[in-house]
Subunit: 460 residues, 2 copies
């Protein structure tokens, strides 16, 4: 049963399991107490902090354990913004950060702060010069992930860190997706990570704050973890997190080479065998284990369901598989297709044979889903006689508006337009993406009584 | 090796351990995902929520899992205060709440809110009428613990809940110390608890919010746990917490009777065999497993160290064992002695023989510590000739100022005063407590060049 969603959560690493079991017996007491059970817990906590700090590349007293990667990001951003409040209340971050960063930014704006979202290119990477341009005299903090969680693209952290240093702005690097693969390039002021992404247990995040970085913890005061993470330390999980990080890192270099080759294989075979597919993300500057692609005319939820029936577990950034009715903000920022989106992220140890089987199964499954939706054939139909047409896809969800567009494009003459009326959020992203893939012209979006009118001009 | 500090953290219950292990295999995936590992995780999460809700006495959709009891309190108070912001910004709470409540209150005041601390009697309980008097037209929230974590006294929750209902004020009950022993009396609007206090794992708190209670989660938005607890669910620990709560509750009634008798024995034997001791907290309306006493002329840290050497693990609310240099706010609010303070909290299953051995060892250890400090004998010396005296204990820490007072009281005539100059915070609590225990008159405190001057009049 191949599980290909390591970027959501990795199965517990055997070392984590072993360390957790040992620490359940040795590390349940309060490390702040003076008696032997407390002293034993304190020793375990200190050792875990040293091991995690070594892996992160910081001093033990710069690192605290939080209850998750999300709470590490929340605490890190809030503390850094408050610590530099005298400088200003501006926050700069990339458009493709994890939701924990975006939610922190939204909370900051709601509280009167200002934010600049730095755009990304079609691969999902920020341009260092664009990031630099977003830094202002009143910028209190900048945030950049080490690598993207949905498309795997690595960000130019070292370059951006140097620019931030030049501007005197601290940089928070969210290393949730990459820390298991290796240390973050130097230059960060704050770093966050999440243990269950590298095979550690749930319930543990890391927040490192370099000495000298102004930091003022927010929320009610706390006695634990230098006042930066409230609540009783989750010690068994902390011990397991630190032990597994070290173990995962030991094998990371070799495993990265192996998984990188498997992902390269997925990238090329999917593009080759699945018609009308867009493989997204940087093909080279990327995480070793992660690849994302989107399939035209495919309903994400049905696709995932059919893959699950064939025992492949993958995730999707399509709006048609999420509860929010909006496509992934990452795909949106990249301007790529969101319908029929599949993210494959291989856990360490993934067998090549399982990947091969996935690649054998996938084209048939996609074809089946398309057939079920009555999707048009891939080949462009010869131009029809109609001058221009309006297609009403109101109330229809992704991928139907794009399918309706594709069905009628054959009916109009070259130079004529098709106007799609749609109120599904995904249309805003997927209709331009379809035009790009099909070599047609996306004229633009106009307001309509309900939803929007998307205008496409036939070029060929 | 008897561990008598269950109120800090209980060793992991065997059922918790078993459930945790099973859930590590079955519940590591993201419960928000559609594939089988995700669905399996979702089933486990739903079942855990149902079990915990049943134990709490609420609907499953009223309960979320947080990362600790502390974060449950922080989130509960912040959400309830914000939800009723239009009503007003006043918070009422008892003076003996857990630090997580007091820190939330301090943060609320720092943000412009107002707070009323309801005092407690010498047993540590609030008077319902006094609590009622603290409720105002602009009171957004009231907080009362179910039972005190340092002295075990149960609070009149049902009475206070009825008064809050009458005033239209929601009541948050912090049930961290009592939930393993039984449900909280009805009438609460919000309830918080902490799994590692009942033998569950660290890393899990409960926050229940009754339907109809205005609640607006604070901090960055989150997709998990109804937006009330950020971060990836710590599912294996949640499963273990719910399973162990059920298991602990099954045996709670019988075990409560047994531990109650052991604690009664500690209460009477300590008062009998240890001279100059004050056993505090309500002797009847109390948690079954917890007792606190304070020993005059004893340094808390040395006492704990000596008990630890004899393999007894207990904790203390004395300033001389804490890093804050202030005595426990609970003992302070009760107006009882804080020096030489010992809290004994028995985990379920504690052997009676271990308690007997503790009671055999304790008197000798206390005597030894007193001897080391040159403490005066218990018997009151016959009155001396001096009219009045000033004792300089500046720079000396608890219990030295009280020892110095006791040494010279014999030198002054009946009716004369001893003035103790001290800058240790504990003196403010312990000198009046000494007077109460010794039948001398505490005249009062006067400002001095350094620290304070505490005036005591000899009555006998």
């Amino acid at each position: 049963m191949p599980y290909f969603d390591a970027a959501s959560a990795a199965p517990l690493h055997p070392v984590a399991r072993q360390a957790l079991l040992a620490a359940l017996d040795e590390g349940w007491a309060d490390p702040a107490r003076l008696y032997r059970e407390g002293r034993r817990a304190r020793l375990l906590l200190d050792a875990a902090r040293e091991a995690a700090a070594e892996a992160v590349g910081c001093r033990p007293d710069e690192l605290v354990f939080t209850s998750s990667g999300t709470t590490a990001v929340h605490a890190g951003i809030a503390g850094a913004l408050s610590g530099r409040r005298r400088v200003g209340r501006h926050l700069a971050h990339s458009a493709v950060e994890h939701s924990s960063v975006l939610h922190s930014a939204a909370a900051h704006e709601a509280a009167g702060g200002s934010c600049t979202e730095v755009p990304v290119d079609r691969f999902g990477a920020v341009d260092p010069a664009a990031f630099d341009a977003a830094l202002r005299a009143d910028t209190a903090l900048a945030c950049l992930q080490s690598a993207n969680h949905e498309v795997g693209t690595e960000q130019p952290v070292a370059e951006v860190a140097a620019l931030c240093a030049g501007a005197g702005v601290p940089l928070l690097v969210d290393a949730a997706q990459s820390l298991g693969w290796g240390p973050v390039p130097a230059g960060w002021s704050l770093l966050t990570a999440s243990a269950h992404k590298w095979g550690g247990p749930a319930g543990v995040g890391l927040l490192a704050v370099r000495k000298g970085t102004r930091f003022s913890p927010q929320g009610p005061a706390g006695e634990r973890e230098s006042g930066r993470a409230p609540g009783f330390e989750n010690l068994p999980a902390i011990v397991a997190a630190a032990a597994s990080l070290r173990a995962v890192r030991d094998g990371a270099a070799a495993e990265a080479v192996r998984l990188r080759a498997l992902v390269d294989r997925i990238r090329s075979v999917v593009a080759e065998r699945v018609p009308d597919v867009e493989v997204v993300g940087d093909p080279v500057r990327r995480l070793p284990h992660l690849v994302t692609f989107s399939c035209l005319y495919v309903d994400g939820e049905t696709l995932l369901h059919e893959l699950d029936r064939r025992e492949f577990s993958v995730s999707s950034g399509s709006s048609c598989t999420s509860s929010t009715l909006t496509p992934s903000h990452v795909l949106k920022a990249m301007g790529v297709l969101s319908e029929g989106n599949v993210r494959v992220s291989l856990p360490p140890g993934t067998a090549g044979a399982d990947v091969d089987r996935f690649l054998e199964v996938l084209p048939g499954v996609v074809a089946e889903v398309r057939e079920g939706l009555g999707a048009p054939a891939s080949a462009a139909p010869s131009p029809g006689p109609a001058a221009s047409l309006v297609v009403d896809a109101l109330g229809r969800r992704c991928p139907i508006p794009v399918i309706e567009l594709a069905k009628v494009i054959g009916e109009v003459a070259v130079g004529a337009t098709v106007t799609v009326l749609a109120d599904d959020e995904a249309a805003r992203l997927d209709i331009p993406a379809w035009c790009e893939m099909r070599g047609q012209e996306y004229v633009g979006e106009e307001p309509a009584d309900r939803g929007s009118a998307y205008v496409v001009r036939r070029l060929s």
